[in-house]
């Protein structure tokens, strides 16, 4: 197994963990907040809104822009 394979596996585990968390959150909303609910709460403040939208804008620039 190469370093590349290990890296891919780790990305996969993180993605699966996120999917698992979302499924748990949807079935047990009292124990865990869904990602949408978490983002909604974070975006109640201007700091949260700017932080999250900056992250989104950065994603676009990082993957497509200079």
């Amino acid at each position: 197994m190469t370093s590349h394979d290990v890296s891919l596996a780790i990305y996969g585990v993180i993605a699966l963990a996120a999917i698992g968390l979302e499924l748990v959150a949807l079935s047990h909303p009292d124990r865990l907040a869904s990602l949408g609910r978490t983002l909604g709460r974070a975006m109640r403040s201007r700091t949260g809104r700017l932080g999250i939208i900056t992250g989104w804008a950065w994603l676009g620039l990082h993957f497509f822009g200079l």
């Binding site: 609910r37 709460r41 403040s45 700017l50 989104w56 804008a57 676009g60 993957f63 497509f64």
Partner: protein
């Protein structure tokens, strides 16, 4: 009798306890967000991404100079936020955006400007605040901690891969960052347009939260 302003969940929370929740206090703390933006901006600058760095630093400076006053709660919007017309308009806009901007190669000025326009527009909307969905009852820290762990983990793993590259501006096959992994998909016209389409939809979704 007139309905008091603000979201229903806020009124319920205010009735339950006067103190804002721990997570809400954290979300209002600009210091943490400014620190994250500053560190990310420095890494972007030394990684040869000047536009990203300027964006992150500029927002960080804005938040530091004009800290969140808080307490501004807009009226909740009754009924579903997204009507069919709005959805069709957003999908049409995202499609047109993807088709036009996706024509240009990645890491060029036309795409950069094409991404900056909706990005900065989104930031203006975020600064002013919008009428949003009611996010429901206030969240406890233990309810969001796993998500924080996921995002910190992905950030640290990205950083580790970045530092394991031969150089900060030299990609590594053995230690790929997500942007390196995305090259095979986003370098083609179709993949690039699809990526831009999804990115713009994500922005619309976030601004609606």
């Amino acid at each position: 009798m007139a309905e008091p302003p603000g979201l229903q969940s806020d009124r319920l929370a205010a009735g339950a306890r006067a103190e804002p929740s721990q997570t809400r206090r954290w979300a209002r703390q600009p210091v943490l967000v400014v620190a994250i933006l500053a560190v990310a901006g420095v890494f972007d600058a030394i990684s040869g991404n000047p536009v990203d760095a300027v964006l992150l630093m500029a927002v960080g400076v804005l938040l530091a100079v004009f800290p969140d006053a808080g307490a501004a709660t807009e009226a909740a919007v009754p009924g579903p936020r997204w009507r069919t017309g709005s959805i069709v308009a957003v999908l049409a806009l995202a499609t047109a955006f993807a088709l036009v901007v996706g024509v240009f190669e990645r890491y060029t000025w036309p795409v950069t400007i094409g991404v900056l326009v909706p990005g900065v527009t989104g930031l203006v909307f975020a600064w002013r605040g919008t009428r949003r969905r009611d996010p429901g009852p206030t969240l406890r820290l233990h309810q969001v901690l796993p998500w924080m762990a996921v995002f910190v983990t992905i950030g640290l793993f990205e950083l580790a891969n970045l530092l394991l590259q031969p150089g900060l501006t030299i990609d590594s096959y053995d230690h790929p960052t997500l942007s390196v992994l995305s090259d095979t998909v986003l370098n083609g016209h179709f993949g690039r347009s699809l990526g831009l389409f999804l990115w713009l939809l994500l922005g619309a979704y976030l601004l609606d939260r």
